[in-house]
């Protein structure tokens, strides 16, 4: 029988997440409601956040203050930027065709 060690998943509760992001918990909840942040719900309905979402909040903050975007438009901008990165990464992996053979 294989015994699995209990792995602690790195998740942050609302208060610690808001603290680490330097924003008010109400604003965090608002970003979740707007679908700009991913949160998981525990059995009591409270949100839990992956640490990677801190970088997402920073991105939201930079884009919002840089372009005076409202939150609804931010969702679109974030999605489009993500799609552009995926396409750019795919373009990088595709062999570039120069002449007949692809010399790399």
């Amino acid at each position: 029988m294989t015994i699995y060690a209990l792995a602690r998943t790195a998740r942050l509760d609302l208060e610690s997440f808001a603290h680490d992001c330097g924003i008010h918990p109400d604003l965090v909840l608002r970003l979740v409601r707007l679908g700009l942040l991913d949160a998981e719900q525990d059995g009591f309905g409270g949100p839990w956040f992956e640490p990677s979402q801190i970088a997402q909040v920073a991105r939201i903050q930079r884009l919002r203050s840089g372009f005076s975007l409202n939150y609804a438009a931010l969702g679109l901008v974030l999605d489009l930027l993500d799609r552009v990165s995926v396409l750019e990464a795919a373009a990088r992996h595709r062999p570039r065709r120069t002449g007949v053979s692809t010399w790399t």
């Binding site: 924003i23 970088a55 920073a58 840089g66 372009f67 692809t102």
Partner: protein
Amino acid sequence: MMADRDFYEALGVSRSASQDEIQRAYRKLARKYHPDVNKEPEAEDRFKEISEAYDVLSDPDLRKRYDAFGADFRQVPDGVDPQAWRRAREYEGAGAGARRTAGGRPGTGTGGFRYASASTEDIDIDDLFGGIFGGRSRREWGPIPGADQEAELALTVEEAYHGGRRSVTLAGAGGQRSFDVNIPAGVVDGQRIRLAGQGGHGSSGADAGDLYLVVRIRPHRRYRLDGRDVSFTLPLTPWEAALGATIPVETPGGEAKIKVPPGTSSGRRLRLKGQGLPNPRGQPGDLYAEVEIMVPPKLSAEEQRLFEQLAGASTFDPRKRP
């Protein structure tokens, strides 16, 4: 450096530009250089520059002061006559060993902005950036971590094979930066090397973003890469191809010997298993020698005779259907 550049020049507008023109120029440039849109390390500096220029030129009072006093406008106390200021500066500049910083009064102008005239070393990048990302909406946001950046790292096939240390110089926030990067052996085209904390600056002491070096493998005169598999063309004489031979070849990892089996035709791929690019996490790539049979462009009398003899004796017809 950015503090030296004229604000109008930074936005690419004339000194007589209207508020609309200034706004339009700023919006266009901001879309191009915003650190979340443009991942090049230089973009952050450029974005700070245009944001600072816009902050000043979009405010009619600040713009008036900037027009009157130039780059020192933040240090000039209220009510100073521009003409008198200019004369005083010229006088000061003419004096031996005159310092241009005029005392470097901190905290004049907008919230906590430290500014030190034309000399650039006193500017606190963190403060400057805080002014841009935290400044306008400070009530809502706290410190904002910096954005991730990407730069290209061009490597030769040999460098990708062997890995090792390499010095990389990039333009970035606060001038040029050099990094000693440890390149793992067997990096492939498009792979990203992460330099933690070397990306865009955070505001008000927040963490910096990461810098990703995206590996780009330079075209090579001999090798073609497909992931970690390396192919190259192996030219053979007709007799080597017909009789078989052991040929020494250059590979990215050094010299190797390839055994060509008898009866090898052009286009055959001979595989040297595991001789492609190494893989730190698994199977290394393979090396493929693609056979190309070459004929002497001019035959000697002896070669001519032997080929004719072969033509007479051989019944081989590659065009005959099996």
